[in-house]
């Protein structure tokens, strides 16, 4: 298909420009000195300084980090357990359960948000950071499951058989063989879950009570009350942090 190579290449580059242009513009203009317009008026770090001084943002950042940390640990405990546990089931049963567990990744997020809201209200659990953490641990379990299962599939099953032949109990095999082999995948999955939790807006939006503001909720309310260069600066930070964490996660998964 050499003939159309040039055309395909141009279309592909145009696609990349479409994907990266807006993010690049956003980051560039977070350094713009002008408050009011999208006209370039010289470099400035003013908006980053304004972010730093904003106490409400600091509180939201602390909330976000807390939610992401706790929900990641929870999702890892449950997800890794599921991933290893599924190995013990036989073909058909295993596939059915695994597919069912992946459903939260497929349904629209709004559905997850409102159904959780409904659930928490009906069981009379007040909305707070705890409910947010529960929501995040819900959508992060399938993420962990996918990543750890991918790694498990690549493991040599003979390693486990050898351990058993040498008289290791199932607990010992898990503790000294399976888990160490899975470590890069578990770390990668943890970073991925952490990032997704930091970034999540929709589930948080429906499950957060008053006072339980996370950074994305804060960004949302800032956007709703009028655009400002501070939002650009905060967005730029989001982009950099997410990309860094995800990059690290992908690196770990590849090992």
């Amino acid at each position: 298909m050499k003939q159309s190579g040039g055309w395909l290449w141009r279309a592909s580059v145009a696609n990349l420009f479409f994907l990266y242009g807006p993010i690049a513009a956003l980051i560039l203009f977070s350094f713009n000195a002008s408050r009011l317009s999208a006209t370039w008026q010289g470099w400035s770090l003013e908006w980053y300084r304004a972010l730093w001084a904003n106490e409400a943002l600091q509180a939201a950042a602390v909330n976000s980090l807390w939610v992401a940390t706790v929900s990641t640990v929870l999702a890892l405990l449950l997800g890794v357990g599921l991933a290893i546990g599924l190995e013990g089931l036989s073909g058909r049963r295993q596939r059915q359960i695994e597919q069912a567990l992946l459903l939260p990744l497929v349904i629209p997020e709004v559905m997850m948000g409102v159904s959780l809201l409904l659930f928490f209200v009906l069981v009379q659990m007040p909305l707070s950071l705890t409910t947010v953490i529960m929501g995040h641990a819900l959508f992060n379990v399938p993420i962990v499951l996918v990543i750890v299962r991918a790694r498990l599939r690549k493991l040599d099953p003979r390693l486990l058989e050898v351990a058993a032949d040498l008289g290791a109990s199932s607990w010992d095999t898990l503790r000294y063989v399976t888990l160490p082999l899975l470590r890069p995948a578990i770390l990668g999955a943890g970073l991925m879950a952490f990032t997704i939790s930091l970034d999540d807006f929709i589930v948080t939006f429906f499950t957060a009570g008053p006072g339980a503001t996370t950074l994305p909720l804060k960004v949302y309310s800032m956007i709703k009350s009028g655009l400002s260069p501070e939002i650009n600066a905060l967005s730029a930070l989001f982009v950099v942090v997410s990309m860094g964490l995800i990059g690290l996660s992908l690196l770990l998964q590849r090992r």
Binding site: I23, G79, G85, G88, V110, S115, F119, D199
Partner: protein, 289 residues
């Protein structure tokens, strides 16, 4: 062949148990509750009255709701089509690139997907609004004499949705196209097939599982989109997701909100059932060795 560890040796239920209970409690139970509540009635002062009726579902035929449902389907379909048109050349290019280049291209496609959705949507507000980047540039270049109104329209929603979900289309398309046997295409060239014939008779049929999977992965989240129409759409660009949010958080008519959610769920489940069959070769690759 898939090897599984002998059942007796693998610790199983105590590992599976906590996760299954957690997912059951927070995923299955809430969705079931939603289904039950969609048949309940609404109290005079808000809140729910436990009675069985189909009123909520019948209410959805009201022109106001029907219009939003119809519009959501149109916008989601438009998004899917645009993603397909834009994503196909890209996926094809990646699939035909040198193997060491493919990884880099795929990573480049994935990275934007891994950045915050809220931030990506905001980027388009920044570009499209009246005093935004696009209007500033167009005015400077003298293309337009007064700013054009782009934000808060269906067009803006469409752009935002395509932007958000394009990677979902490219990846499955790539997986399918990468498997297309090159010699088939070469054989067709040798037999004097035109470029169009090669595409229509060879590449497209072989890529079909990828097309179906990609369309599904784009259509479902587009249909249930909340943030994009909320930020980029105007009052007339409401989608199902916004309607659900409105009923739950603003109008406080939970039974109606639940009914809309169930309708969305039904739609999504139906689409998945239909297309999983068509995309099967992609989801379940033939066993190795």
């Amino acid at each position: 062949m898939k090897m599984s560890v002998p059942v007796g040796r693998a610790p199983s239920w105590w590992l599976l148990g906590p996760g299954l209970v957690w997912m059951g409690l927070l995923f299955v139970v809430p969705l079931c509750l939603m289904f039950v509540i969609s048949f309940a009635g609404r109290g005079t002062y808000g809140g729910m009255v436990w009675s069985f009726s189909l009123t909520n579902y019948l209410d959805l035929f009201h022109p106001l709701y029907a219009r939003i449902l119809g519009q959501s389907i149109l916008l989601a379909a438009g998004t899917t089509l645009l993603c397909l048109i834009m994503g196909f050349p890209l996926a094809y290019y990646i699939a035909r690139a040198a193997p060491n280049r493919q990884g880099i291209w795929l990573l480049l496609v994935m990275i934007p997907f891994w950045t915050n959705f809220l931030v990506r949507t905001y980027a388009w507000m920044f570009i499209l609004r009246t005093e935004g980047l696009l209007n500033t540039v167009l005015l400077k270049l003298g293309v337009v004499s007064s700013p054009i109104e782009l934000l808060y329209s269906n067009t803006a929603v469409l752009i935002g949705l395509v932007y958000g979900y394009l990677p979902f289309m490219v990846l499955p398309l790539y997986v399918a196209l990468e498997r297309v046997d090159r010699t088939l295409v070469e054989a067709a060239w040798d037999l004097y097939a035109t470029r169009w014939t090669v595409f229509r008779r060879i590449i497209l049929p072989l890529a079909k599982p990828g097309v179906v999977a990609g369309c599904l992965l784009v259509f479902i989240p587009s249909l249930g989109a909340f943030l994009t129409p909320d930020l980029l759409g105007g009052a007339r660009s409401m989608m199902i997701g916004n309607l659900i949010q409105h009923e739950f958080l603003v109008a406080r008519d939970w039974p109606l909100g639940a009914a809309i959610s169930c309708l969305l769920m039904l739609f999504v489940a139906g689409m998945m059932r239909w297309s999983l069959r068509a995309a099967k070769p992609l989801v379940q690759p033939e066993p190795e060795s």
